[in-house]
Symmetry: C2
Subunit: 169 residues, 2 copies
């Protein structure tokens, strides 16, 4: 066994997207059981100028697909950000998982030295190797939004624990 760009990306995204789906299912069940308006959770945020739960899930899913696509040198699929319900978020996660499950190790392995350009053509353009892009940019960004989605729900009293966040490993 050797570590590869594939094993450092796709299985990690899968594990965490699966756990995010499970956490959202628990949040929806909690809202139903406690007669909580779903939007009280879906639109919740930790501070007025932070993103809502819906947006945190959208962005986490976006990093999973965009990082995976760029490492595989395929076009990043474009999804409308029109989710409004828990069912919509589950569908967003499911289509993200379907996309990354369709990428093979052969497409992603070897991308460690490929040049990836962030924000191309802008003053904030930045060139990174595929390895730095994944480890120092993509995974931290992904985990930031995945954790903040969890933290929003935990802050609002949904009975979830770190085991739910971690998922199956």
């Amino acid at each position: 066994m050797t570590i590869s760009m594939y094993t450092a990306s796709i299985p990690v995204f899968k594990q965490m997207l699966d756990s995010m789906s499970n956490v959202l299912a628990k949040a929806e069940a909690h809202a139903t059981a406690k007669s909580i308006e779903p939007n009280a959770l879906l639109q919740a945020r930790l501070f007025p100028d932070m993103f809502s739960l819906i947006h945190q899930v959208q962005i986490a899913a976006d990093f999973a697909k965009s990082v995976s696509a760029r490492l595989a040198s395929v076009d990043v699929p474009s999804y409308e950000d029109n989710e409004q319900t828990f069912a919509d978020l589950q569908a967003r996660i499911a289509k993200t998982l379907a996309f990354i499950n369709g990428l093979s190790a052969a497409q992603i392995d070897g991308s460690e030295s490929r040049e990836i350009v962030l924000r191309p053509g802008t003053p904030k353009e930045k060139k990174l190797s595929g390895q730095t892009y994944l480890l120092s940019y993509g995974l931290p960004q992904f985990f930031f939004h995945a954790t903040t989605a969890y933290d929003i729900l935990r802050h609002n009293g949904v009975e979830i624990g770190k085991r739910d966040f971690m998922g199956n490993y």
Copy 2:
């Protein structure tokens, strides 16, 4: 260039511990500028049965040192959890950085297939390869606590942004 267990661990921990140090410095400056009692931030938590900021920082630093040490097959240094101030947390981060900076690529590379035993001797014992231990357990745990520390401060009005969380990459 190839991806290795060293490049997938130590530089990531360094980047995020440096950014955590910077975020905590901004939080301390914010408390001073607004005449906020430091403990109002240090003891803050997002929900009564979640950990405080101090504990989130301690645990994040613990994962950085324990994951790095186990991959390098050296003893995990033991630190007392006695931090009470921002200066104490900075010292905790500094000694964690000093420890992981002392580990070489030669010590960590090749650990991808080494067996790591989580919670040995307990009913929850789990055996993982070094690679799975790092990517599916260590990094998610580390990012969970690093992000939650940031979220606690953001929730309490400290003026920080995702750029501060990401640090230098």
